[in-house]
Every structure is written in C-alpha cells, then in structure tokens.
Amino acid sequence: MEALFLYGFFQRAFLAGFFIAIACALLGIFLILRRDAMIGHGLAHVAFAGVALGLFLNVMPLAMALFMAVVASWIIMKLKVKAGLHGDTAIAIFSSVGFALGILLATLSQSFNVDLFSYLFGEILAIETSEVVFSIVLTFVVVLLVVVNYHKFMYMTFDRESAKASGIKVDRLDGLLTVLTAVTVVLGMKVVGILLVSALVVIPAAAGLQVASSFKQAIVLSTCISITSVVLGLVLAFLLDLPASSSIVLLSFLAFGILFVFRRARG
C-alpha cells in the first residue's frame, strides 16, 4: 500500500484531501452548533450554477463557483437579518434556484458531459497540481481566520446575546463565517463533488460532537475523523476501484454510527 504514495496522482489527491478535510471539520462544528448544518447543501447547489457558468463562459469553473457561493452565502445571511427569512427557507430557495440555473446553463452550453459530472461527483484522484496548491492556500486562509477568531466564534455560537453585549461584533463575524463556509464548500467540492460536499462538512463534525466533552475535543476529534475518512476513502477507492467521493462519505458515516452507538451505550 505504501507504493500508492509513489503515484503522483495519489500524492496530489492525498495532499488536497488532507487539508480540505481539516477546513471542512472546523467549519462543520460551528455550522452544526449554529443550527446551520444545511447551508452547505444550499451553497453546493449554487456552486453547481457557478461551475456551469464557468464552463459556459470558458472561465475557470472553480473560481466561478467560489464567486457565486460567496455571493449567495452573503445574500442568504442578509435575507435572514433584513427580511426575516428563516435560514432553511432561504437555503431551500437558493439551493433549487442554483441547481435550476446550473442545469439551464449546462444545457445551453451543451456541457452536460464528463466535465460537469466530475464536478457533481468529485474527481479528487484526477486533481491537478495547480488545484492542489489553490486548495492548500485557501485552506490555510480558512483555518487561520477561524483560529484567530476562535474564541469569538465560540462565544457567539454558545450565547449570541451575551457575546454581543460583551462587545463582540457578532454581525460582522456572522458575515465572516458565512464567507468561510462558502469557501470551504467549494474546497470540499473538489474532494467529494457538489452532491456530497455537504456530507463532508457535516458528518465528521456531527460524529465528533457525539462524544466530545469539551469544545477543543470536539474540534480535534472531528478533524481526525474527517482526515481519516478522506485518506482511507481514497485508498479504498483506488485499491477496490470504488468512487472516492462515496467511499469517503460512507466511511465518515460509519465513524458517526460507531460514535453514536458508543454514546448511547455510555449513557
């Protein structure tokens, strides 16, 4: 199996997957505790429209996806605040409109082909070096911004009103978290595809939260589960000729199942 790491494609997949897994777990913890777990789903569908637009205009699809996801996340947040639209309603709307737009653009540009499918289902094993670099840099930015604002994020997630009363600019930080989520979703898209990226963001974090007794523990555990699922998923995908995206997600679900049962058994 060590020989696997001699292959260039596997090295690239491993590197990108490793780092993206960290970003996903980190954001996932906050999203779940903020009761915002579905936003990854919504943003992924918007990202799909971005990818289709990118293919249509012959502009780097990943960049278009990033742009549209960030814009959509911002609008969803503003709708929640200004129009009092519930988060899940806004997500439902954006998610379906995003996908509809993507289908329209894909049909118009006749790009319902391998390219689009690789974005939908993920093709981490075919990731290029430039994309690996892009992913790692972006992950560093995401992780750095979360670490720097860690205590503020934790406080406002736990008790928003008291956090605000203590001087924390919760609205501004909401915006930051929203944008970071959009970025992480687009990153995750590279690993498991648009259709499953929400799972990569949510499941490892949910698994970690089953048994963690402190916030730090939750983060460490979720990150380990995320990384393990990705790496093991990649290995299995290659060795057994399975799709990487579903292997990764199913493994993370297995971890969740085990920890869920463990928690129930512990009482």
């Binding site: 406080y155 928003r160 009363a165 001087g167």
Partner: protein
C-alpha cells in the same frame, strides 16, 4: 439601607429613552441615573419595557429617541464592555448539546477579546475566584448542559464576574427558582455589592422580591413611574397600587 451619596459616582445615565416595537412605544421618555454601589431593582408588570431598557443600556437595541451614557461616554463611544457584566434571562438559549464545561463558559468572558489560545495563570485564578464567589467551584469540569437551571445561572454570573465588572445587570435572575435558592442568591448579590462594591441592577416582575437587600427601585410601566429609594417606594402610592393590582408577591420572612 442608605449608601453615602458622596462616595458614589454616576455610572449610567438614561436620558429620555423612547423605544417602540412597531405596535407602539414600549418605553417612553425614561430618564434616571444609576450610581456606583447602587443595588437597584427595575420592576414593573410584564411588557413594561424592563428587558428592552436593559438591552438598550447594553447596546443591543437602539432607542428611537433619547440616549444612554455609560461612564460618561455614549454607547457608540463606549468600548469597555467588560465593565458591565450581563446575565441574561434564563429562558434564553442554552444548548445542552454544546460541548463545553463550566470552566470554559466562565473563560469565554475573558478570552473572547484575545486572538490566541493560552490563558494566563492570572486569568485562570480570576476564573477560579469567580466560580468560588458563586459557589460553583466544585462543578468546574462538569458540562454546562448537565446542570440545573439555577446552577447554570450562577455560572453565567461567574462569567460576568471573571472580568471584574463595575456593574452586574441581571434579567429576571430568580424566576422559577425556589424560595431558599432565591434567598441564597440574594445574599450572594448582597455580598458582591457590599464587599466588592459591585453595582447591582436587576430586573424582576416580582414586586415582593425587593427585599432587604435592594436599596433603589425604578418602577417602569412604559414610562418611569417611580425612581428612588426602596424604603420610600414601599410607602408610596405606586407600590400600594401594584399590590392592589395583584402583582406577584414573594414574601421573605427574616
């Protein structure tokens, strides 16, 4: 129970504050001062604007008219929010699934202004001391979700105390709590007020709670109906009217 006025400084000035929620004014032209070392109860019937006023003081809401000054600065200018400890109403919030210990909750108040992880030893001792002040030291490693409501409330007070606040503002801190716990609770607040010089401002709709510890009373019912000493309030017409209206009475036998 009269504090010497000369030792006191003006901490908070509420000036002609008016606030509406869209269906009408919930606060109208409310003005009164809060001085250091006050032990003030803001009372009034449900819907009288007490919590709204508190939120305006804390900068969580903006008044339609009027303004609030904290330690001489307007809300926009004021930045030393740690000096004001806020203990929100019990009904709000806490997610029992949130994986966080009592100690971590208290630490949140201190750490949130800093970027990176490590707590200093001094901060750790602030946290311990705050927990001791509220009698929750032995629970410091317990998950917050596993405590009773009264215990959680005390942890939130510790969180506010860890920053050595000048004022502690509590919103309905003892609603739904049994009489004995209430007793201990007010004894604790009294200690903080007398021994540490912390100004206490608490909101309650229970008229009878304004017991032997409360020194000042502000009675709200959209407008400021009364502001002054507790003793005088008990002799006043407003108090008699509130009793006659059947406002909730909690008696304290000493």
């Amino acid at each position: 129970m009269d504090f010497v006025a000369a030792e006191q400084e003006l901490l908070i000035e509420i000036q002609k504050v008016t606030y509406s929620y869209g269906y009408g004014d919930v606060l109208k032209d409310v003005s009164f001062p809060i001085n250091s070392k006050d032990f003030l109860a803001i009372i009034g019937p449900n819907g009288s604007g007490k919590t709204t006023l508190l939120k305006i003081i804390l900068g969580l809401l903006k008044p339609r008219l009027g303004k609030v000054k904290i330690m001489g600065k307007t809300i926009e200018e004021f930045a030393d929010w740690k000096k004001i400890g806020y203990v929100p109403q019990k009904a709000t919030h806490i997610d029992s699934l949130f994986p966080v210990s009592v100690k971590e909750v208290v630490a949140m108040g201190i750490q949130s202004s800093r970027r990176f992880q490590r707590r200093t030893r001094e901060e750790d001792s602030c946290i311990s001391r705050a927990l001791q002040q509220v009698g929750m030291e032995e629970y410091k490693s317990r998950r917050i979700g596993n405590l009773s409501a009264g215990q959680q409330q005390r942890v939130f007070i510790a969180r506010a105390l860890a920053n050595h606040p000048k004022i502690l503002m509590l919103d309905e801190p003892t609603t739904g709590v049994d009489a004995q716990t209430q007793e201990h609770f007010y004894d604790m607040l009294h200690r903080l007020n007398r021994e540490e010089g912390i100004t206490i401002v608490l909101i309650t709709h229970e008229v009878g709670i304004i017991n032997k510890h409360v020194a000042q009373v502000a009675c709200l019912n959209q407008t400021l109906v009364y502001h002054g000493s507790h003793d005088e309030f008990c002799r006043s017409d407003e108090f008699k009217r509130m009793l006659a209206d059947g406002h909730h009475l909690v008696s304290h036998h000493h």
